[in-house]
C-alpha cells in the first residue's frame, strides 16, 4: 500500500507534465522580462521615493512621498502640462482606432494595386523613427498640409462669413486628421491581419441567410476582430503616451537627465504612468466581456454569461 502511494508521488500526471513543459518554454521570456523590465522598474520605484545622494555608488536615501508632494503642490508647470497631454491623447486615440479600422476594411476589399496601397499606408511608420518625420513635424507640415486659412481651397469670402473661430477649429481638426493618418500604419496592419483571419465561409453563410452588409459588419467582423481591437487600442494608447513628440516625456526627461534629479524625474514618470495604467485597466475591463477568442471558448463562456457576445455558434444553430 505504501509503495503505491510513493509511486504516485514520483510520477507526474499528464497535466502536470504539460505545465512543466510550458514553464520551461516560457522561461527565456520570463528571464528577459525580469532582467530588463522588472528589476529596472523596481529600481525606478526606489528612486521615486528617494533622493540620490551619491551618483557614483548610486546610493539612494528614502524620503517618503516628498517627490510626489513636490509634483502636485510645488511644481507649477506639471499639472497644466499633464492635463494638456491627457486631453490630446484622449482626442487622438479613438480617432486613430476608427480611422485605421475603416482604412483596413477598404484595403481588405478586392481593389486594384492592393499591395501598393498597403505599402503606402505603412510608410509613415517605416519612416517614423527616422530623421525625416522629425524634420517634417518640426516644420509643421502635418498641421499645414490641409491648410484652409490661405484661401486656396475655400475662397476668403466664405471663410469670412464663418468667422475666425470656426475656421481655426476646422483647421485644428484637419491637422489632427493628418497626424492620425501618419500614426496609424501599425494599426492598419494589425486590423488587416485580423480581417484576413476571418473565414470567408462565415460571410458566405451570412449572405445566404440574407444579412445586409451593415449586419455582417456588426455581427461578424466586429466580434471576430475583437482581439485585434484590444491589441490595437493598447498599442495606440501606449504609442500616443510614449511618443517622442509628447511634451510630458520631454518634461520628465529634463528633470531626470537634464537636471540630474533622478528621484523627482522618476516620481513624475510614475504619476504619468499611473494614469496610463488606469486607462488601460478601464479598456481591459470594458473589452473583456466582448472578447471573442475562438468558438470553443465562446461556447464555454456562454454557459456562464449568456447574451453578451454574439457568437457564431448561435447563428449556426439557428440557421440549421
Amino acid at each position: 500500500m505504501e509503495k503505491q502511494i510513493k509511486r504516485k508521488k514520483k510520477h507526474l500526471t499528464l497535466r502536470q507534465k504539460d505545465q512543466l513543459k510550458g514553464l520551461f518554454f516560457v522561461a527565456p521570456f520570463i528571464i528577459g522580462i525580469a532582467l530588463f523590465f522588472a528589476y529596472p522598474i523596481g529600481l525606478s520605484i526606489r528612486l521615486a521615493f528617494g533622493k540620490v545622494e551619491n551618483i557614483v555608488g548610486f546610493q539612494v536615501a528614502f524620503v517618503g512621498i516628498e517627490n510626489f508632494k513636490r509634483a502636485f503642490l510645488v511644481d507649477t508647470n506639471f499639472i497644466p502640462l499633464f492635463l494638456q497631454t491627457v486631453g490630446n491623447t484622449l482626442l487622438k486615440f479613438p480617432l486613430t482606432v476608427v480611422f485605421s479600422l475603416i482604412i483596413a476594411i477598404m484595403l481588405n476589399r478586392k481593389i486594384v494595386c492592393r499591395g501598393l496601397f498597403r505599402v503606402i499606408f505603412f510608410i509613415p511608420f517605416l519612416l517614423g523613427a527616422g530623421v525625416v518625420m522629425n524634420q517634417l513635424r518640426a516644420l509643421g507640415v502635418d498641421r499645414e498640409v490641409l491648410s484652409i486659412m490661405d484661401g486656396k481651397i475655400i475662397p476668403y469670402n466664405i471663410l469670412n462669413y464663418f468667422g475666425g473661430d470656426i475656421v481655426t477649429a476646422v483647421q485644428k481638426v484637419f491637422g489632427i486628421i493628418v497626424q492620425v493618418l501618419w500614426d496609424s500604419g501599425v494599426q492598419i496592419l494589425l486590423f488587416l491581419s485580423g480581417l484576413q483571419s476571418i473565414s470567408p465561409a462565415l460571410y458566405e453563410a451570412a449572405k445566404i441567410d440574407g444579412a445586409t452588409e451593415w449586419e455582417i459588419f456588426w455581427k461578424i467582423t466586429i466580434p471576430m476582430i475583437s482581439p485585434m481591437m484590444l491589441l490595437n487600442i493598447i498599442y495606440t494608447l501606449v504609442n500616443t503616451f510614449v511618443d517622442y513628440d509628447n511634451q510630458m516625456l520631454g518634461y520628465i526627461d529634463t528633470w531626470g537627465f537634464g537636471n540630474a534629479e533622478f528621484g523627482y524625474g522618476a516620481a513624475l514618470g510614475w504619476i504619468y504612468f499611473a494614469f496610463v495604467g488606469l486607462l488601460m485597466a478601464i479598456v481591459f475591463g470594458v473589452m473583456k466581456g466582448y472578447m471573442h477568442t475562438n468558438e470553443v471558448e465562446e461556447v464555454k463562456k456562454r454557459g456562464r454569461k449568456s447574451r453578451k457576445v454574439f457568437t457564431i455558434e448561435r447563428t449556426k444553430k439557428r440557421s440549421y
Binding site: 510550458g22 518554454f25 522580462i33 530588463f36 491581419s193 488601460m280 475562438n294
Partner: protein
C-alpha cells in the same frame, strides 16, 4: 453601373460605391505618401533648395551631390563604412530571430500548456506594455554594466529580445488557434515540437511576419541604445554612425545638411524592402478556420 471589358475576359464594374472608394483612398494616399515624397526629393535637393522657406515638396534641380558628400565624409572616418553596415545587420537580424523564437514559443506554451503562474506572467506582460522603454533605459544600463557587456553585441541584443508587445501580439494570435487541431495531432502520434513547427507556426504566419516587420523596423532605426551601450567607434551601428558622421540631427551643421538628407533616404530603404517582401506574407489568410463546429 457600367461594365468595361478588361483583359483575360474579366469585367470591371464601375459602380458608385467603387468610385467613392477609390476617391477616398486616393485622397488618403496623397496625405500618407507626403513624407515619402518629401524624403526622396530632399535627398536630391541642391544646397540652396534645402534651406528654402517655406520648404518645397518637389525638387526643382535634382542633383546627386548629397550622396557624394555623404560617402566622402564616411570614407574620411577611421572605420570603414561596411563595418557599420555589418554591425547593424548582425544586430538587427539577431534581435529579430531571437525575439520571434522566444515570443512565439513562450506565448504558445503559455496559452496552450497553461503553466502554473501563467496568469501572473501575463499580468507582468500587460504591465510591461504600459512602460516606455525610455523609462527603463537607465536602470537597464546598470544591469548591462553589471553583467559586463558594455561595448559588445550582447549589450544591444539582450535587452531587445524579451519585448512585452511582441509577446502580447503572439498571444493574441495563439489564443485563436483551436485546441482540437493540436489534440488531433497528438492522438495521431506527433511530438510537441513537430506540432509547433508544422502546425502552429505555419498557421500563425501573419502573426510572426507582422512581428518580423515591427521588430526589424524599430531595431534598425534605433539609435538610442547604441548611443548608451556602445563606446568604441568600430562597434557603432549604422544609424548612430550616420548621425554622428553627418553632423547629427541636433547639431546639424549647415554644410552637412545635404548628407543628412541623403543618409535619411539610405537608412529607410532596407525597411521599405523588408516590408514589401513580407507584405504578402502578412496578409496571407490563416488556414485554421477549416475546423467544423
Amino acid at each position: 453601373m457600367i461594365k468595361i471589358k478588361w483583359f483575360k475576359g474579366q469585367w470591371i464594374h464601375i459602380t458608385f460605391a467603387n468610385i467613392a472608394l477609390y476617391t477616398i483612398m486616393g485622397l488618403l494616399v496623397c496625405f500618407t505618401a507626403l513624407p515619402l515624397v518629401y524624403l526622396v526629393s530632399t535627398a536630391f535637393k541642391p544646397l540652396d533648395e534645402l534651406f528654402l522657406y517655406p520648404p518645397q515638396f518637389i525638387v526643382r534641380k535634382p542633383t546627386t551631390q548629397n550622396f557624394t558628400d555623404l560617402f566622402m565624409s564616411l570614407n574620411s572616418s577611421s572605420v570603414p563604412f561596411i563595418r557599420f553596415t555589418f554591425n547593424s545587420v548582425i544586430i538587427t537580424v539577431g534581435i529579430v530571430a531571437a525575439t520571434v523564437v522566444v515570443s512565439s514559443i513562450g506565448a504558445y506554451s503559455l496559452v496552450k500548456f497553461k503553466p502554473p503562474g501563467g496568469k501572473r506572467i501575463f499580468d507582468l506582460v500587460l504591465m510591461a506594455l504600459m512602460f516606455s522603454p525610455h523609462v527603463t533605459k537607465i536602470p537597464s544600463y546598470m544591469v548591462v554594466n553589471k553583467l559586463g557587456l558594455i561595448d559588445t553585441y550582447w549589450a544591444l541584443l539582450l535587452p531587445s529580445i524579451a519585448v512585452a508587445y511582441n509577446f502580447f501580439l503572439m498571444k493574441q494570435f495563439c489564443e485563436q488557434y483551436p485546441d482540437e487541431l493540436i489534440e488531433a495531432a497528438r492522438i495521431d502520434g506527433s511530438g510537441e515540437l513537430r506540432i509547433f513547427l508544422k502546425l502552429v507556426m505555419p498557421a500563425l504566419g501573419p502573426a510572426w511576419s507582422t512581428l518580423i516587420v515591427f521588430s526589424f523596423v524599430s531595431n534598425w532605426n534605433d539609435y538610442f541604445s547604441p548611443l548608451i551601450y556602445i563606446t568604441s567607434q568600430a562597434m557603432k551601428t549604422l544609424p548612430l554612425a550616420l548621425q554622428t558622421i553627418a553632423g547629427g540631427a541636433a547639431t546639424a551643421s549647415i554644410g552637412r545638411a545635404g548628407a543628412v538628407a541623403a543618409s535619411g533616404l539610405l537608412m529607410t530603404l532596407p525597411t521599405i524592402v523588408i516590408f514589401t517582401l513580407m507584405q504578402s506574407k502578412v496578409m496571407e489568410t490563416m488556414t485554421y478556420s477549416g475546423i467544423k463546429g
